[in-house]
Amino acid sequence: MATTSKQYKAIGEDLWKSRTDKINSELFALTYGALVVQLIQDYEDYAEVNKQLEKMGYNIGTRLIEDFLARSSLGRCSDFREVGEVVAKVGFKSFLNITPTVAHSGPPPPSRPTSTAQQSGVPGSSFILTLDENPLAEFVELPDEALEGGLWFSNVLCGVLRGALEMVQMQVQVEFLSDVLRGDESTEIRVTLLKYLEEEVPVGDD
């Protein structure tokens, strides 16, 4: 049964409303802001801070996906396009209460992977999420050094997406394209599918 975009929206709404505990968004934004500022003070190199934020996000994402799938009881996505829809309408909605718009692009995604069809071309399809509001960056103004140093303030989101999708057998590359904190028009994240991952045999089992 193909789940339409509207149905995903409804699922996301329902998850947010009924099955999510809420905290004060100011506390959340302040905590994240303090975290980023502390990282900047510790590493003093904005590229390194970006990397660390992404790593932290990766650790969050690998755990988050279980919680997400359990609560939403969604099945496997049939193609990468659907992945984008689910991430935007159900994922972001149930965790951050925002619904970014999705723009799909790239070579046509492969059909549902079977265990042997792995080798047939690494898909390069991607989707771009455009966030119209960012709860992490409430009240934030980047100082000049951060602007010049190339800091992506919300880079943890990239890590979360990468970690979560890796746990469902997709290796993706996630990066920020633009950020309103930097003075750009909108905040955009691009998720590119690198390849589908084989089920791996745990080490020491053979």
Partner: protein, 181 residues
């Protein structure tokens, strides 16, 4: 007619200052000195300057063009203004202890300058030097500045009680000043 705003931390370090030249009411020229000085530079100051005779002669040499919102007035004038602001701090602290309201109307008067103060719950002092009476406008202006200040404090990159250098804050305070003063 100008207004001078100072934001001071609880330990009296200056956080922010602004000079706003209002175009709302016509300038009242009351002293002969004013004819020699460019119009922005105060007939307002004239009264104060004649009182501080030592300082007055130096100001004639400052000829800043234009009457828009110039951030720094001439050097001597600036010292006078700051002196007035500092002098009012004692009065403000006295009142602070007794009164719990945030907006303390006019706490001090110095020649033609009135000092109004606003104390935030975090003991930040907002001091406004002005010549005309404008209680409601000033109260609204203080509330506006307070909200803008709160938003700046919530920026994680801002360290508490350090000078505010954000351009956004500056622009918004100026816009608010234009609206209310």
């Amino acid at each position: 007619m100008s207004h001078h705003l100072f934001l001071l931390s609880p330990s009296d370090t200056p956080i922010y200052s602004l000079t706003h030249y209002s175009t709302k009411l016509p300038q009242t020229t009351s002293s002969s000195l004013s004819s020699n000085l460019p119009t922005w530079s105060t007939s307002a100051f004239a009264g104060t300057l004649t009182a501080l005779s030592g300082a007055s002669s130096a100001t004639q040499s400052h000829h800043v063009q234009g009457g828009g919102s110039v951030r720094m007035g001439g050097g001597q004038d600036r010292h006078v203004i700051q002196m007035i602001a500092n002098a009012s701090l004692d009065v403000i602290e006295d009142i602070m202890r007794k009164e719990s309201a945030m907006y303390l109307k006019s706490v001090d008067k110095f020649n033609e300058w009135t000092v109004s103060a606003f104390i935030t719950p975090g003991n930040m002092k907002f001091i406004l030097l002005h010549e005309t009476k404008n209680d409601d406008g000033i109260r609204s202006f203080f509330h506006d500045v307070w909200e803008l200040y709160l938003k700046t404090m919530l920026n994680p990159f801002h360290t508490a009680h350090s000078p505010i250098r954000s351009i956004v804050f500056d622009t918004r305070v100026r816009a608010s000043a234009k609206k209310y003063l």
